[in-house]
């Protein structure tokens, strides 16, 4: 069971994540969008959306530090365990609270504003449920586990983090996760489930962060495609769809 949960399942999810995104990008560029509902309602969105998104950026940044940076490294630069902990909590808790408050506002808005609610698909609802639970569990692990040490102290940097890095080295040690508190287990499990769902939901918009905007000229010029057989408009002809001569 542990092998399935902490070895097989994560790999399945990551594979689905990668292949799913490639598939989606190739076959559904048209559906690749934020599906913004700002047109219907903008006052609540104006507060909720930046809170949530910036909060999430902070949370993701925190995860990268906590999961990817080995404890040896911070030890090596002379950062004590306590000091690291305080920094992590000082950064993580405000970001987490912002994300949760933002999420609550956004979900409230989704439910109460008529047109927004009717534009919410089942796909969206399932995704929000998983995302919401993952976030709340994460907050719980941080606040209950690290701040008030309910249920005993657990240093995730000796356990979950090591396991997470091992995944990418293709040598995950399932016992590390099996020994983790239930809250961490569930958070990790659902997070991988979310990765698996990712390419099929609106979450794909995360990967369209428009970095190129900083470097490209303001006005984009493009040429009409003149190659024979190209469809009207100026999109490049797709491979395999060349016109039969």
């Amino acid at each position: 069971m542990n092998t399935f949960l902490w070895v097989i399942f994560p790999y399945i999810c990551l594979a689905v994540f990668v292949v799913g995104h490639v598939w989606r990008y190739r076959y559904d560029k048209f559906g690749w969008t934020t599906r913004s509902s700002q047109l219907y309602e903008s006052k609540l969105l104006r507060i909720g959306s930046p809170l949530f998104h910036f909060g999430m950026l902070g949370v993701v940044g925190g995860h990268i530090l906590g999961l990817i940076l080995p404890q040896d490294w911070t030890d090596a630069v002379g950062l004590s365990h306590e000091a690291y902990h305080i920094i992590a909590l000082a950064g993580g808790i405000p970001a987490g609270i912002a994300a949760v408050v933002g999420l609550v506002i956004l979900i409230y808005r989704r439910r109460t504003v008529g047109p927004v609610f009717s534009a919410t698909t089942i796909n969206d609802k399932v995704m929000y449920a998983v995302l919401g639970v993952v976030i709340v569990l994460g907050m719980w692990n941080t606040i209950a586990g690290s701040l008030f040490t309910i249920g005993g102290e657990y240093n995730y940097r000796d356990g979950v983090s090591v396991w997470f890095r091992q995944i990418f080295a293709f040598q995950p040690d399932e016992s590390l996760m099996a020994a983790a508190p239930f809250g961490f287990q569930l958070h990790g499990f659902l997070a991988f489930l979310l990765f698996a769902m990712w390419p099929f939901t609106r979450l794909v918009h995360v990967f369209s962060a428009p970095i190129g905007y900083f470097t490209r000229p303001y006005i984009v010029y493009r040429s009409r495609d003149r190659r024979p057989g190209a469809a009207t408009g100026s999109r490049a002809q797709k491979r395999g769809w060349e016109r039969v001569q």
Partner: protein, 554 residues
């Protein structure tokens, strides 16, 4: 010098009767889908009035277009690149549905199903978004023909500086119609605002398009366009805009809105311009100079030097010929009677307007004077400052000099032609008073009043060398199909459909259309949402609720 060609339009406002035919045909061609119910790529607004979306000209509020910084450089009014990305999670300046209007349909079912009762049953309006009954309070042309203008028109920003003098009492004011489409600007702020780089200007004809595969739904273009001519499709989550009917233009036929214009007031043709000078021209200090500075980037297609440069830039010979015959070029640069709409937004718009003389003519007529007498007309143009200043606020950033000049030309033409029409000797004095020759004036009259289809629309075909195969309309000789590949593309059973260049653009909407037309029932209010009504029906299929059942019953 970098010569580029731009497909452009001029509209002669004196001839617009405000019939909205252009809006409806455009809608049925391009925005008859759910998600686009509220969208009018072409809209006709009554001025003075608020326009569509409501009050879009208030750039202090909407922050569209460019502004000139103190150092003389242009910047997006809504903020540059960094600002855009910081605000990407919620656009602070985006119009909401209520600024356009909440699209609705009527519950016609009640009319058919109501039991016999004392009071006549009514079909109540239901929102197409939520399916709930709504109270209709605004639409794309709510203040049509000055309806309710004592309440709304006072908020018209173009009345600035003349508010106190204008009477908005219905029978006391002036009025004209302003049809608007996307301007296909030379310096489009919509494209500049797009973080994904999905909006582009076509090198060949300058048409500004949104790449639907690259758009990620950030909505910055909606804010960026000062004319509010990019719209957000709330079903697909992508931005859409007027395409200048490029599939038609590519095969040499005019846009839908121009083709169907009842007043025959639209002209389509090429303008050659120097792309290297656009930014400089858009950055001149004084707003009043923008009209002349934009004219200065246009090139004379009859100048051999320009022709050589154009050839170097890869512009085909027939395009240069078309540019020489372009009615748009004639109206903008030869007769100089067309003016840009809101040059002060600094996007260098390319749909220009001949301002209407009718507000002036109407006043003279009302006072019982001869409205075709040159002296009366000239005198009235000088005396009637209100319409002139209003027009100047629309077309020249408030500078009345060019508007005066255009109106005087139109007035001169009016009275000069009256003599000819009545068989009297034409008076060469009249054209001379506005600096024109007799022949020039007569030619201008022909172009403005009685120009034929092929004079109004001079559209060279695109050089795909296959252009004909692209079109959806059969303007080709039917027989040519038999001995070339056209035959195997269509085939007796339509087996070629969806292959190669014969695929009409409309096909990508087909699945959407089919689903919409086959799924919704009319049984309860909930399902009125997204329903097809006459406006967004494209003639295909049998949307439920639109026709009675075959046996005559519902």
């Amino acid at each position: 010098m970098k010569v580029m060609a731009q497909m452009a339009m001029v509209m002669n406002l004196d001839k617009c009767i405000g019939c909205h035919t252009c809006s409806v045909t455009c809608k049925q061609a391009w925005t008859n889908r759910s998600g686009m119910e509220y969208v009018w790529f072409n809209n006709v607004e009554t001025r003075p009035g608020l326009g569509y979306p409501r009050g879009y000209e208030d750039q202090d509020k909407w922050q569209g277009g460019w502004t000139r910084k103190a150092n003389g450089r242009l910047t997006l009014r809504a903020g540059g690149r960094l600002n855009k990305l910081l605000n990407i999670f919620s656009n602070p300046k985006m119009p909401s549905m209520s600024d356009y209007y909440e699209p609705w349909t009527y519950d016609y079912e009640t009319l058919l199903n109501a039991p016999s009762q004392k009071h006549f049953p009514v079909a109540r309006p239901h929102s197409l978004l939520s399916g709930k009954p709504i109270n209709v309070e605004w639409s794309a042309n709510w203040d049509d023909d000055l309806g309710g203008s004592h309440e709304h028109a006072a908020k018209d920003l173009m009345l600035k500086g003349i508010e106190d003098k204008v009477k908005l009492a219905f029978d006391d004011t002036f009025m004209f119609y302003l049809p608007r489409i996307c301007e296909h600007c030379l310096n489009p702020s919509c494209a500049a605002s797009c973080p994904s780089g999905a909006i582009y200007k076509r090198e060949e004809d300058g048409i500004v398009l949104v790449d639907q595969d690259k758009c990620r739904g950030w909505r910055m273009c909606v804010t960026g366009c000062p004319y509010k001519k990019v719209y957000f499709n709330h079903k697909t989550g992508k931005a859409e805009k007027c395409t200048f009917c490029y599939p038609r233009i590519e095969v040499g036929i005019p846009t839908v809105c121009a083709e169907t214009c009842v007043g025959r007031l639209r002209y389509i043709g090429l303008m050659l311009y120097d792309a290297d000078k656009v930014l400089e021209a858009a950055s001149v200090e004084d707003d009043h100079d923008l009209y002349e500075s934009q004219r200065s980037v246009f090139l004379d297609p009859n100048d051999p030097h320009v022709q050589r440069e154009a050839e170097k830039a890869g512009i085909p010979g027939d395009w240069i010929t078309a540019a020489q015959k372009s009615p748009v070029h004639a109206l903008i640069n030869t007769y100089k009677v067309a003016l840009p709409l809101h040059p002060e937004y600094r996007t260098m718009p390319m749909v220009w307007y001949i301002p209407p003389l009718s507000p002036v003519v109407d006043v003279i007529k009302d006072t019982g004077h001869d409205a075709e007498d040159a002296d009366n007309l000239f005198g009235a143009i000088d005396a009637l400052r209100i319409p002139v200043e209003y027009l100047a606020n629309l077309f020249t950033a408030g500078d009345t000099v060019p508007v005066d000049r255009v109106l005087r030309k139109l007035a001169a033409m009016r009275s000069y032609m009256r003599d000819i029409n009545l068989g009297r000797d034409p008076d060469p004095e009249i054209p001379a008073r506005v600096g024109m020759g007799e022949e020039e004036m007569y030619n201008m009259f022909r172009l403005l009043a009685i120009a034929k289809y092929e004079d109004r629309y001079v559209i060279p075909t695109a050089h795909g060398e296959e252009a004909h195969a692209l079109e959806e309309l059969a303007t080709d000789c039917p027989v040519t199909g038999y001995d070339d590949e056209l035959l195997d593309v269509s085939g007796p059973f339509g087996e070629g459909s969806g292959r190669g260049s014969m695929t009409p653009v409309a096909i990508e909407n087909f699945k959407m259309l089919e689903r919409r037309q086959t799924s919704d029932t009319m049984q309860d209010g909930e399902h009125l949402k997204g329903r097809v009504n006459l406006l967004n029906w494209d003639g295909k299929g049998m949307p439920p609720g639109m026709f009675p059942d075959e046996d005559g019953e519902r």
